[in-house]
């Protein structure tokens, strides 16, 4: 398989139906100059041609450093940003020319849990109303049914029904994240976008939330798109992993395969830079120099070449082809 843009769509033998599909997604933010008569002087290419699939009941992880476009990708899936180019298909139907009714249905089947549970919950609302809000908008339920659902959801996320009367400030960080998860689950979504769901929590609480998310995935048969920068978290949570650099996916594959045979120099560098789990683990010394270039005018050819320790002649000029190294394991690099 050789194409020029990375197509992170598994070809391996999974039988689960494809729920959500992104093809050639691009998001350019215009950079303007001048106050009254503003002129567009350039574009920040936050996401530049990203394709992937999310299958029912599976978890896709997107890793990368700040500015790589992972959160913008998530925002496009949540329809918080309109893509500049490319399509998003939900259950085979594109969502861009959907009717408002279909859009509403899409919005309730794709929910989100954000990083910071201190700012994602309205402090003036009781937990009961916070969790019920998506249901009020999307479902036609009686008061009684709504109350029962809230109680059930609270129990499913490990809280109790009496918590429904409290306000968010009465909860700890881990409990608030549980509330955010309960709210996301309230309209029975098929996909939940998890944007750094545990990185703001205490270490001893992170495992609780990760295990909870895994249990709920089985119970509700929901798919996750996990945005994270912590590689070990991604390894624990995901079935598929896409590594992003400067708006593009540079490597994609089944989790285990990708972690054991990381092939793109950037993926390797990320793995070597990640912290070891034991003092006796010897890490290869492969520390990248410099910082991520500006997405305003990304480097020509392979975007990683100015920082790449294995750079060869064609890297600065030619855009690398995508090569399939193992079933489902794709890499976009001139070395392969």
């Amino acid at each position: 398989m050789t194409t020029t843009t990375m197509d992170a769509r598994p070809t391996a033998d999974t039988t689960n139906e494809v729920l959500l599909e992104a093809e050639g997604l691009k998001k350019y933010f215009p950079v303007t100059k001048g106050l009254l008569i503003s002129k567009i002087t350039g574009h920040i290419k936050a996401v530049d041609g990203v394709s992937f699939q999310i299958r029912a009941g599976e978890t896709l992880g997107i890793v990368g450093e700040s500015g790589c476009g992972k959160s913008t990708t998530a925002k496009m899936l949540l329809q918080l940003e309109e893509p500049t180019e490319g399509t998003i298909r939900y259950q085979g139907k594109t969502i861009h020319n959907a009717t408002s009714e279909e859009r509403r249905a899409y919005r309730s089947s794709v929910q989100a849990v954000f990083q910071d549970p201190w700012s994602s919950l309205n402090p003036r609302m009781r937990v009961r109303d916070l969790i019920a809000e998506p249901m009020v908008i999307n479902l036609d339920l009686s008061r009684r049914e709504m109350q029962d659902r809230v109680a059930k959801l609270l129990e499913d996320v490990g809280l109790s029904s009496y918590h429904a009367n409290l306000y968010p400030h009465e909860f700890s960080g881990g409990q608030r994240q549980r509330l955010a998860i309960a709210r996301a689950l309230s309209v029975e979504p098929r996909v939940i976008v998890l944007d750094e769901p545990v990185s703001a929590l205490d270490v001893s609480i992170r495992a609780q939330i990760m295990n909870l998310l895994k249990d709920l995935q089985e119970e509700y048969n929901v798919s996750y798109l996990l945005i994270a920068h912590h590689l070990a978290t991604v390894r624990y949570m995901c079935d598929w992993v896409a590594v992003m650099y400067l708006g593009q996916i540079v490597e994609f594959g089944p989790t285990r395969e990708l972690f054991e045979n990381a092939s793109h120099p950037y993926t390797k560098a990320l793995m070597n830079a990640a912290l070891p789990s034991h003092p006796d683990i010897e890490q290869e010394e492969m520390i990248l120099t410099g910082e991520v270039p500006s997405p305003l005018n990304p480097p020509e050819g392979c975007r990683f070449h100015p920082r790449c320790p294995f750079v060869i002649d064609q890297c600065p000029t030619a855009i690398p082809q995508v090569t399939e190294l193992a079933p489902g394991h794709m890499v976009s690099c001139h070395l392969y």
Binding site: E65, V203, A207, A273, I281
Partner: protein, 330 residues
């Protein structure tokens, strides 16, 4: 880490004995640090691990004498820097030591630099305060320090303001301020939490090189056992204001003896292998103004027994320099 045996023979530079720092609040006395003791040798790296509210940062602020008072107060204990007790010093005497002999690198480079002063000004401030040297030499020293922390084109960047620099560069500047007066002890409070992984790796490598170049004793305050595994010679694990376990980094990782250490280590996902299911510590860290009697970890402990809720366990020595405070070791 490789020079472990030689570090053990180095002289002790910092000794903390029975430190207690309490805060008076409207909910009662918060015992943020409640009897912490450790020592630190020249060239050694000590990791202090704990969750938020464990007292790790307050311990270090107490050592630096930066506890806002009121409401906080060091009520007991000694902090000996090369034999001199810092707790008894006047504010003026402490001011001469702080920043020159013992320095602090704080967590967030976005907020710990002043946006209205240039980089050169801020790095030079500590040098001007602690060393009586002419203006021209200050600039020269600032440039030297900036080069030491690998800031490219230091002679032009010295005029930059913090907003003109990236997060990684700002963190380097904060590091430069820390080492500008060649301290004996450098305390780094979560120095890399806001950095990206590849930038974090660069910064940790830099800290290690700086330490080796001038035998600085380094204290890492962190919640991340990965940083401990990579950087530290010894580890102290804190919970609810107390050190619950302390020892050489390998002893802690190979033979974690306090249930909290054991639980923390098994609740972190691993980069190198698949983990079926993480161990998850139930419950929340305790609130410090309302601690249960006995061991504060007892309500969350999987090995809890009757004795645990009655009295706080003493330290049980396991091997040389490795101890844990748990009744299970009795």
């Amino acid at each position: 880490m490789s020079t472990n045996s030689t570090i053990k023979d180095n002289p002790v530079v910092l000794q903390v004995e029975g430190l207690k720092t309490y805060f008076e609040t409207r909910w009662g006395t918060v015992k943020a640090v409640d009897g912490v003791s450790f020592d630190l040798r020249k060239g050694e790296t000590l990791g202090i691990v704990g969750e938020s509210g464990s007292g790790k940062s307050v311990t270090m602020l107490s050592v630096m004498r930066l506890i806002p008072s009121p409401p906080g107060q060091i009520v007991e204990g000694r902090v000996l820097l090369e034999g001199q007790d810092l707790v008894d010093l006047s504010e003026k005497e402490m001011g001469a030591i702080r920043g020159s002999q013992i320095a602090l690198i704080i967590q967030d480079p976005m907020t710990s630099l002043n946006p209205v002063f240039s980089i050169g000004n801020q790095v030079g401030e500590a040098i001007k305060i602690h060393q009586d040297i002419p203006k021209r030499t200050v600039l020269q020293q600032v440039l030297d320090v900036l080069r030491k922390v690998n800031i490219p084109a230091a002679d032009t960047r010295v005029r930059d303001y913090p907003h003109q620099m990236s997060g990684g560069m700002r963190q380097r500047v904060v590091g430069a301020i820390g080492i500008s007066c060649e301290p004996m002890v450098l305390i780094a409070d979560e120095p890399t939490t806001s950095l990206d992984v590849t930038i974090q790796a660069q910064y940790l490598k830099l800290l290690k090189e700086l330490q080796e170049a001038s035998d600085i004793a380094l204290i890492f305050i962190t919640h991340d056992f990965g940083i401990v595994a990579k950087m530290c010679d010894r580890v102290a694990v804190m919970y609810a204001g107390k050190i619950v376990e302390m020892g050489d980094v390998r002893d802690i990782f190979n033979n974690p003896s306090h249930p909290y250490t054991e639980a923390l280590l098994s609740s972190v996902p691993k980069l190198e292998e698949d983990v079926d299911r993480l161990y998850s510590i139930e419950g929340q860290p305790p609130t410090l103004h309302d601690l249960p009697p006995g061991c504060p970890f007892a309500p969350r402990c999987q090995y809890v027994r009757d004795k645990c809720s009655q009295s706080y366990p003493p330290q049980f020595n396991l091997t040389d320099g490795h101890y844990a405070a748990c009744w299970r070791l009795e």
